[in-house]
Symmetry: C2
Subunit: 317 residues, 2 copies
């Protein structure tokens, strides 16, 4: 199991990490494939990425139509699925489509199904986890989880829909978390600022002292306290399907934090580069196909490639 390998190579025992999010069946159209059905969901991508770095635990709900053998690869990667419940009904479904530039998905259909009345209740052990990630779910639910938890470090994702329709709940979530991960258009919408620095500062004023902004092919930007970090995207030659890249990135980032058991400018930067490298595997295949192929070895190679494409010498004039 990758997580055991990770734990054995880490100085301290890796900290506990819980993700609350969705496991879904996606129907995705890209320039290369029409209405392709496959495994999806924020918690799936997140834990598949984090499972290479630590032993994440998933809290999610499935319908009784779901074939759980689809998740075997997660178990093999060391992901704890004992809190993935099955309920009577259909699994959460999402349908989206991408334009020629494969930049942003347009949502065509969201059927919450068993996710509609999902009530994530944390056990005492889970409440005291070290790291907690609230994937992109309705802020009302994020709030329920964060109010129960006494985690050392809480991170969350969000989206334009919640910024527009559940702003007050979202702002309450923001006041209780340590890190927000969102994309650039969402950052502008939430902050009402145009420049990325101004946007990140404004979002910090809502609560989280770390703001990570995903910029697609332009990489990722972080403001942690007063420090800025900027990382380019890994230059993949083959872009197949970007679905799940954001959750993969977050899994790599927060998986790295949990692996180190410490959050500081250094572990955050390492985490962003790991997230960047792992997201490049996701984009190279449909559904989880690309990310399934990633190993600690191939992650290490891409990490080094990002190092090589960003390093430069000092200025001696």
């Amino acid at each position: 199991m990758a997580c055991r390998e990770a734990a054995s190579k880490t100085h301290d025992t890796a900290s506990s990490l819980i993700v609350v999010g969705s496991i879904a069946l996606d129907t995705v159209s890209t320039p290369g494939a029409h209405d392709r059905i496959g495994l999806g969901g924020s918690a799936t991508y997140f834990s598949a990425a984090a499972g290479l770095l630590c032993c994440p635990e998933v809290i999610a709900v499935l319908g009784d139509d779901f074939d759980r053998t689809q998740l075997n690869f997660l178990v093999e990667r060391g992901v704890d699925l004992s809190s993935v419940y099955t309920k009577q009904g259909k699994t959460f479904q999402w349908q989206g489509t991408y334009g020629d530039d494969l930049a942003e998905a347009t949502t065509l259909r969201t059927d919450l199904n068993v996710f509609a009345d999902f009530e994530p209740n944390l056990s005492d052990r889970q409440k005291n986890c070290d790291f907690l990630f609230l994937a992109n779910i309705i802020p009302h639910l994020q709030l329920k989880v964060v109010e129960q938890a006494k985690a050392k470090f809480v991170a969350a994702d969000t989206m334009n829909l919640w910024i527009n329709t559940a702003n007050a709940d979202l702002k309450r979530v923001l006041s209780m978390i340590d890190m927000l991960v969102l994309n650039e258009a969402e950052a502008r919408l939430l902050s009402e600022e145009k420049s990325i620095v101004a946007a990140a500062k404004r979002i910090q004023s809502f609560g989280p002292q770390t703001v990570v902004i995903k910029r697609g092919v332009y990489g990722a930007f972080m403001m942690h306290k007063d420090a800025i970090f900027s990382c380019p995207a890994f230059p993949t030659m083959e872009t197949i399907d970007p679905t799940g890249c954001g959750d993969t990135f977050a899994g790599g980032l927060i998986g790295t934090l949990a692996r180190h058991g410490e959050v500081n400018d250094e572990t955050l930067r390492e985490g962003i580069v790991v997230g960047t490298a792992l997201a490049s595997f996701t984009i190279e295949g449909y559904s989880l196909d690309g990310l399934k192929r990633a190993t600690v070895e191939s992650l290490r190679e891409r990490y080094r490639a990002v190092e090589a494409m960003t390093k430069f010498g000092s200025f001696d004039l």
Copy 2:
């Protein structure tokens, strides 16, 4: 003179650098100012930037309406203007406007005036210069210059207009130069490729072994032989007027190459960071106001700021 300071601090004597381009009167509208008239031109921005690093020489033409005292700051910076000729007639004029995001200029008017029959003839000394930059002028003129020159290293800029209307001439220029500097939309147009890596590789196949792609607020991307370098933009808090940022960037980049007298992956990367830092001064003021304020000292500070926002540790898993 900045260039003397640069030369004295450089191990070797700085190499000679010539820029062939425009000195213009610009009329620019931004969200902050309507139809503001000021000094402009590719050779002006380029030499103002390069003048902090080496002693560039400008080949350009002015109309007899032009007040040459406007260029005194360039002379003070050590720029050689002895080949800036005055001809009867009006100086080249450009009028452009920016939208709210200050991303890209829309050209409203281009009056070539004395530039229309500009015939840059290089002296024997100039033909044998070390570094030559062909700013964004009609490819036919770039060709005339590059055919005369025996420079060690030739770089050029171009634009969508020439890609669309003078493609054959441009391709001939490309077959004779070492480096092309252009923006991302132009790179896509010229290469007919969507991904930046594929675009850069395709442009390399036209001739230049180094392709530098300017990405505005997303920084700069270079492909030199097989190596990729990516640099974020300097996070300016105040964006006043982006006119001239591209030429400032090129001046910082090629000025650095001339300062070192050597072109390799290391000097190119240093040059891109220097260009990035200098472009951030240009954007902070109208016309040349921001770049005039830049000093070797403040450039050094911003170079270090780019270092701080890009560095990260190794991956030890």
